[in-house]
Structures are given as structure tokens and as C-alpha cells.
């Protein structure tokens, strides 16, 4: 497929060879999606899969020109991956990746106005990853209950302290008990 047509029209997008996908900045996402939906060369009328991915901040070793290695902090981000197919031309997939700027305030534009099929999938990513989709008509929790606070699919998700007393705690329960009695929850 003529994927370089996208990179020519949208110079901000970047082709990622390792994952065979196109990295799209969130400012340009709706334009790119509209382009591949309506351009006669693509006509991607079907969004098959929308998934969230969590990438934690990490330290990366960077080699300077004089051979010394320095550690650089790479910020974490959340990523939304779209798989587009064309039902009309029976082609695909085109994989787009949209990355948020950080993990604290992740915002990605919603493609639900263009593709109804993304509605529940975006709600699910909001529910489990906490990505906020601007422009989504009905952004509520979908699998977890409405009062739930955290985002369980994130890699650094901590289970709530739900320790209950047991007569002979061992293994996991013992760990839980230790954590429970050392935390503030037990003192209050």
C-alpha cells in the first residue's frame, strides 16, 4: 500500500519499521484518520481494533561521541493503537499509533465521530488505562463500576489494601498482612 502517501501529506507522522506502524501525533490524528478514510487509495472504512498500551518511564543508556555512557530518563506515555481495514477494497491493516505526552494527563482525540465502531473500545481504554478521548459522546466507565478510582490495566497499578484477618496467613496473604499493618490504614 502507498503508505508513503500519508507521510508525504502529513510530515509530522513517522513510519516505525520495527512494529510496521505509523506513529501519529495526537494533534494530527483526526486529519490522518479522515485522510485514510476518504482518500480513494485507502478507503479504510472499518476500524477493527483499538487498544491501549502503557509504556512506563525508563532509563536509557546513551553513548556520547567520546564513548562515555550516560543515563537519560525517558518519560513514560500511553499509546492508543488503531488497526484499520478496508471492507470495500479488502485491504489492510494500516496500523496507527497515537502517543500521549505523559501518563498524568493523557488526552487523545476521539475517532468515534468518524467511526461508530470505536465507541465502546475507546470507553474501554478510558476505563482501564485512563486515556481521555476528547470529543467522545459518552465517555464513561464500561467494565469497571462507576465509583472505581484507579486504572487497572496500567503497568504500575497497585491493588487496593483489602486485607482481611486470617488465622494462619502465609505466602501472598502474609505479604498482604505485613503491608497492611505497616501502612497508615491500620493505624487509624
Amino acid at each position: 500500500m502507498k503508505l508513503d502517501l500519508i507521510t508525504q501529506n502529513f510530515p509530522t507522522t513517522k513510519w516505525d519499521e520495527a512494529t510496521q506502524s505509523l506513529i501519529v501525533p495526537h494533534t494530527d490524528l483526526l486529519n490522518v484518520v479522515d485522510f485514510i478514510k476518504n482518500n480513494p487509495g485507502f478507503e479504510m472504512d472499518y476500524v477493527s481494533n483499538v487498544s491501549g498500551v502503557d509504556w512506563l518511564p525508563k532509563k536509557e543508556k546513551v553513548k556520547a561521541a567520546d564513548g562515555t555512557e550516560t543515563e537519560v530518563d525517558k518519560p513514560g506515555f500511553l499509546e492508543v493503537v488503531y488497526h484499520f481495514y478496508s471492507m470495500k477494497n479488502r485491504t489492510g491493516p494500516i496500523t496507527l499509533r497515537c502517543r500521549t505526552e505523559n501518563r498524568e494527563n493523557p488526552i487523545v482525540p476521539s475517532i468515534t465521530p468518524l467511526y461508530r465502531g470505536a465507541e465502546f473500545q475507546e470507553r474501554e481504554i478510558y476505563d482501564l488505562y485512563g486515556v481521555r478521548f476528547s470529543g467522545h459522546p459518552d465517555l464513561r466507565r464500561i467494565l469497571m463500576w462507576d465509583e472505581f478510582q484507579d486504572f487497572p490495566m496500567r503497568k504500575d497499578y497497585q491493588e487496593p489494601d483489602d486485607y482481611e484477618w486470617e488465622p494462619t496467613p502465609h505466602d501472598e496473604v502474609l505479604e498482604k498482612a505485613k503491608h497492611h499493618y505497616s501502612s497508615d490504614a491500620a493505624k487509624s
Binding site: V53, R116, G117, F120, W145
Partner: protein, 399 residues
């Protein structure tokens, strides 16, 4: 001589005969000064096929708003799979759509094979096709039974369907040790080889299935009650079906020719001669009929697969190290045509023995996106059959 009764009665401001036909002015809900009624359908009701709830707003008997509510069965399957090795997730995929564990296994194995670049021996491919098409028979037969059950024909047709389903499940049990939780596919093949006895039993089932289908169709397809309840109800247009990512029999009932067995030709589906049935109107009746027609096509594939079934060969690729399985870093999206629609698995590997990201693309959940649009303006009793024709399994919706 009998005198005709000429007494009259005043109804709604006009004189009407006391006995005999009267003319009524049909009043809509608002003229009566009535209010909208919000009711909660489910989650503890058999017609919702599990713990599924619909928040329905009614004007009289007409639906004016419907919001599906689910998540009661949510156990975060994806998180559990991200903390388990690749192979350890295989039995868990059985629990997604517990009617079609063979196709769930295949979809997951297909994605992992794509990720790790594993070749599947020919014999195993044939076994997979045979099992997947048997699963399609199981699912569609049961669905037709459930749908007729939702229509009010309590029990009998469903028991007919379950009787045939049980024959196929007996084969699955002989093969894998479990009727429904088969855990049978492996990366690069299947777990145990077919014995001649299994093949004989499958041939027997395939031979006698058409007579059951003929009986079942005679009972249901031309039935006046089914036609008047199903035709023109819950219409889904072609454009809306594509835009809302609906897949599987529901999409094809709306007239879109898109079957992943034909489009991707995964496995060895390019070797078989079969057709893709399409619907005309996109209503509940079309969705019911599509299931019947697809069962005939599945039987066609099964007959060809049994005829071409290779005599010898491996049932699993011997080079795959299932223990300590570590695919190289990368990602893959593998999808197959499961009986309910496009079942996909999206995997990201960072080179370790656990998947970094494991995502299920559940057809049941995404086909529900459009439920409200299909139900608006329909009667409340039709909501049940529209939901029944979508074909959902809550194990897959909630994951």
C-alpha cells in the same frame, strides 16, 4: 325474528354501537398525558443471555432510549494474561466465549504464530479447520435454538438444537478431555493427534447433520409466527453496519460481503470451495436465516476437509519449544472468523516470557455498539429478539 341491537355507547366523544365493530381513535402516549418509563432489563433475566443489563426508556411500548450496561463478569482477562506465560493463557481463552473454545484457541494460536513466525504442519491445519467448522455448527445451532426460545417457543426447539450440539461436544470431549473448555490448540499445531475413530465419528456427524438441519428448517423457517415476529424488526443498514465495525453473520445479514476466511485466507481456507451467504434486509429474520445458510456452507467445508485429510504428517510443529516460550520483540495482530465475528488478538512482545500487551478484540462486545440504533422505535418485546439475534456471550463481552 331477531331484532338487531341498536343500543349505543359514548366513547371518546362519539357515539359507537354497544355491540359490534367500533372505530377507535388511536392515541399516542403523549396525548394521554403519560410519562416516559425507564426500566432495567436484566441482569438476572434468562433472555439477556447472561448477566447483561439494558437501561431502557419506554414511551408506551416503544423504545426511545436504550443503554447497554455490562461488566458484571469482568475479571480483567487481559491483565491476567499479561502476568502469565504465553502458553498459560491458552486455557483462559476457552473461558472467553465458552460456546466456541476451539475457535478462541485458534485465534490466539494464530496471533502467537504470527508474532513468533511459526509454521503449522498441513495435518494440523486440516484438524483446525475441521474443529472450527464443527464449532460454527455448534454455535449457530445453539443460537437458533436460543433465538426461538426468546420468541416464546420455550424449550422444544432449543432441546432439538442441544441434542445435536451434544454429539459434537462428545467428539470434543473424546479429543481434548473437556466438552467446552477444550484447551486443544498449541502454537504450531494441536495438542493430540486425531485417531481414526475420531475421524469416523466426525464423518458420521457430518453425514447425518443435513437431515437434522432439514427438519429444523422445516420447523422454523417458514413458520408464520417466526416470520411475523422477525421480519422488518431491528433493521441494520449496510452503511451503519460497516461504520460501527459490526462483523460476522450480523454484518453479512446486512448485505456486506466480508468473511475473513475469504479475505485473509488464513490457515488453508483457500483450498475449499464455499460461498458466503448474504442477507437482503438486515432484519432479525435475515440474521436467523444467515445462520442456517452458513451451517450448510460449513458442512460443505467439512466434507471437503474430510476428503482431503492427509494420511500422515505431524500434528504439531516439533521445533516449537512450548516450555520457556520467548518470541522475539515485536507485535502482531492475528484475527480469524469466529462464529460470532472477527476475533482478534493483539500481542506485543518485548522479548520476555510474558506478553507485554495482550489484547482481545471481542466480536460480541463490538457488535453491541449498535444495539441502541437497532432497537429505537421498536416494541419492548422485540428488544429481546434483537439482542438474541446479535449473538452475545457475556464471558467475551466482559472479559
Amino acid at each position: 325474528m331477531i331484532q338487531p341491537i341498536t343500543e349505543t355507547i359514548e366513547i371518546g366523544g362519539s357515539e359507537q354501537p354497544l355491540y359490534g365493530p367500533r372505530s377507535y381513535q388511536v392515541l399516542s402516549g403523549n396525548d394521554l398525558g403519560s410519562q416516559l418509563l425507564e426500566i432495567s432489563m436484566g441482569p438476572h433475566h434468562p433472555s439477556t443471555h447472561g448477566v447483561f443489563r439494558m437501561d431502557v426508556v419506554l414511551d408506551g411500548e416503544e423504545v426511545v432510549k436504550l443503554k447497554p450496561v455490562f461488566g458484571y463478569l469482568h475479571r480483567n482477562h487481559e491483565k491476567i494474561a499479561e502476568n502469565a506465560s504465553y502458553l498459560a493463557s491458552m486455557p483462559y481463552t476457552d473461558r472467553l466465549d465458552y460456546f466456541c473454545s476451539m475457535t478462541n484457541n485458534w485465534a490466539y494460536a494464530h496471533a502467537v504464530e504470527k508474532l513468533a513466525g511459526i509454521k503449522v504442519p498441513e495435518r494440523a491445519e486440516y484438524m483446525r479447520v475441521i474443529l472450527a467448522e464443527l464449532t460454527r455448527l455448534v454455535n449457530h445451532t445453539a443460537l437458533v435454538g436460543f433465538l426461538v426460545n426468546d420468541l416464546g417457543a420455550l424449550g422444544t426447539p432449543l432441546i432439538y438444537a442441544f441434542r445435536e450440539r451434544e454429539n459434537i461436544l462428545d467428539v470434543f470431549e473424546a479429543l481434548s478431555g473437556a466438552r467446552m473448555m477444550c484447551n486443544y490448540m498449541r502454537f504450531g499445531g494441536v495438542r493430540v493427534d486425531f485417531t481414526p475413530d475420531i475421524l469416523k465419528r466426525i464423518t458420521h456427524i457430518v453425514d447425518r447433520y443435513p437431515s437434522f438441519l432439514a427438519e429444523f428448517e422445516k420447523l422454523l423457517v417458514g413458520n408464520d409466527i417466526i416470520m411475523s415476529r422477525c421480519q422488518g424488526v431491528g433493521v441494520l443498514t449496510k452503511e451503519l453496519a460497516i461504520a460501527s465495525s459490526v462483523t460476522g453473520p450480523m454484518l453479512r445479514a446486512s448485505g456486506v460481503d466480508y468473511d475473513i476466511r475469504k479475505v485473509d485466507k488464513y490457515g488453508i481456507y483457500d483450498r475449499f470451495d464455499f460461498r458466503v451467504p448474504l442477507g437482503d434486509h438486515g432484519d432479525v429474520y435475515d440474521r436467523l436465516m444467515i445462520r442456517f445458510l452458513e451451517m450448510h456452507e460449513s458442512l460443505k467445508i467439512l466434507r471437503q476437509a474430510l476428503k482431503q485429510f492427509p494420511q500422515g504428517g505431524e500434528h504439531i510443529n516439533p521445533e516449537v519449544k512450548l516450555r520457556n516460550f520467548r518470541p522475539k520483540a515485536g507485535e502482531a495482530y492475528g484475527r480469524i472468523e469466529s462464529p460470532k465475528g472477527e476475533l482478534g488478538f493483539y500481542l506485543i512482545s518485548t522479548g520476555g516470557n510474558l506478553p507485554y500487551r495482550y489484547r482481545v478484540r471481542p466480536p460480541s462486545l463490538i457488535n453491541l455498539t449498535i444495539l441502541e440504533d437497532m432497537c429505537l422505535g421498536e416494541k419492548v418485546a422485540d428488544v429481546i429478539i434483537i439482542l438474541g439475534s446479535v449473538d452475545i456471550v457475556l464471558g467475551e463481552v466482559d472479559r
